[in-house]
Symmetry: C2
Subunit: 340 residues, 2 copies
């Protein structure tokens, strides 16, 4: 019987036909996939753990690109992609335990996420995209430090010394405010921490006191939050000549806020992003482009080929500084004894 469905060549066509016809007549709906999975020890699906709020994830083209790439890799391999229900608030880890999958892709979660811990307890291969960075685990992501270094270099060479930073959340607890040095160095999001550290290194090297550089954090990753962060930043530090954002989405918000205040970009204010989403390209945002589709694809392929490896693999994807129309030298300060 099983043979009729799975091994057509192992029995006579005539018998196969008869078996299948009888099965249909009896209302047999075909082999049960779950029972088959139990027996064959193959679920035929890859789990995706994503603890960002879905509404923000689906509105960020960079995240959608990763998702698309992963879905493409799964499609190529003929396996399903199982989105694990998990949101930042919910502590319900059961969904991770319940997921019938052959492996997990973890996309951009904090190092202390309980869902992540649950994934790591599962006896299946796991690939991490972006963060966290865990010793001995497969990971795919850009070289954040180098990428941000390019941005910093660009700004320093333009002459910017008074800069401000807008970053995504640094921990699971909300802090829509300025960030202390402690919070920066203790950030649970590896990507954000690395980017801030790289900025600190680069600007310190240029003679800027990093302790004096304001960093504003936003929990939610939306254009509006980018705008409100820019407002908070510029209200407190109007002398800032460049706003460095750790994502294009936040940078789009900063651009909107600049316009609202009547600041021309880049003449009055320089704004930079990170990711290289289509809309950023369209408006000419100075940013770092990373190949998000490739990131998802690579992670999927890495996971699906993980049987063939023993040593953990970390794949670093290339990034490219894209200088657009939103960065320029800072405006020369009018000397007071010259002006009116």
């Amino acid at each position: 019987m099983s043979n009729a469905y799975n091994r057509p060549d192992q029995l006579s066509p005539e018998l196969r036909r008869r078996v299948l016809e009888t099965a249909r007549r009896l209302g047999y709906p075909g082999p049960d996939p779950v029972a088959r999975s139990l027996r064959t020890r193959k679920a035929g699906a890859v789990g995706l753990l994503l603890t960002e709020n879905l509404s923000y994830a689906f509105r960020d083209p960079a995240a959608v690109g990763v998702l698309e790439g992963l879905a493409l890799a799964c499609e190529d391999a003929g396996v399903g992609l199982h989105l694990v229900p998990a949101s930042p608030g919910r502590e319900d880890v059961a969904a991770v335990h319940r997921a019938g999958v052959d492996g997990f892709v973890v996309y951009s979660v904090p190092d202390d996420d309980p869902h992540l811990a649950a994934v790591l307890e599962r006896p299946v291969p796991t690939v991490i995209i972006d963060q966290p960075s865990i010793e001995g685990m497969d990971r795919v992501g850009p070289d954040d430090a180098a990428a941000v270094g390019k941005i910093a270099e660009h700004l320093v060479s333009l002459g910017h010394r008074q800069v401000g930073v807008i970053c995504m959340r640094l921990a699971r607890e909300r802090n829509d405010d300025f960030v202390s040095a402690t919070r920066q160095s203790g950030a649970h999001f590896h990507v954000q921490r690395t980017r801030l550290e790289a900025l600190a290194v680069a600007f310190s090297a240029a003679g800027v006191d990093w302790a004096g550089v304001p960093v504003v954090e936003r929990f939610d990753h939306t254009v509006d939050d980018g705008a409100s962060a820019a407002r908070q930043l510029l209200d407190a530090y109007p002398q800032i000549t460049a706003v460095i954002c750790t994502s294009d989405i936040l940078a789009l918000g900063a651009m909107a806020e600049a316009e609202r205040r009547g600041l021309r970009v880049p003449q009055d204010l320089t704004v930079t992003g990170f990711d290289g989403i289509a809309e950023a390209e369209r408006i000419g945002l100075t940013t770092v482009h990373q190949p998000v589709l490739e990131k998802g694809k690579t992670a999927g392929r890495l996971l699906l080929s993980s049987g063939e490896r023993s040593a953990p693999k970390v794949i670093t994807l290339p990034t490219e500084l894209r200088i657009g129309r939103t960065s320029a030298p800072p405006r020369t300060v009018e000397e007071p004894w010259f002006g009116g």
Copy 2:
């Protein structure tokens, strides 16, 4: 043992602790989700069948919105969302058989899709979004005929009589060309067929001979295809005053082509879309808005509550005509004996 994991209240905390600790010491990774699913007859996941090419699906905000809504509904219910690997070309239906899910959501597939047939053979509840429309099955979608009727009415009242149509694919076979009457009426995509029929009814009522209205079809759903379709349409029928597109994505392409030809919209050419995606709103496209997020959410909830029903349910979502800056009365033809 099972109780220790699943029914903490059925045994003493002390015993539970001891059992769990011993389990950990022995390297027991927790209950196997597949075996559990087999036993409980619950997979804890919803399947999503989407036979559109992923690259196009993820680039269309209307599709992403549906996906997001569905994912949200699943998250609320604590069940996973299983993307079934299926692309338009691939005839490999096995993935549908292999998916360990408690039900399917089918999103916008042709009525003769083999994957769809495979889904319908599975003994699990199924909800269809948009198409196909199958008697006796749960379905969620807008009233396409009424929605397109509003567009047609709007154009007729503006005075348009010479119109052209750009539509998405009408069958699984590629036909990037003009559409014959037979192909129109025999279209395997219910949504497209309905929209064309509604246009035929409305324009016929306004005294326009529908047989004389050119309809151009595109297999791939991209902005570029919209542009090439507009080119084909306007090259052959330069007298057209309005281009009706069955999606915003196609309309964006038509807009680009109009600009390329030096046609001002709406003075020289009226362009309309369908869906109401954010970018359409941003550029002021005249279109019909449909609540895509709600569509996905509603479908998910409908599926997850399908145990409580017996009669099939068809849910029609509201649509709204949004008149933007891309529609205006046709340019008055300069009478030859007046002009130069």
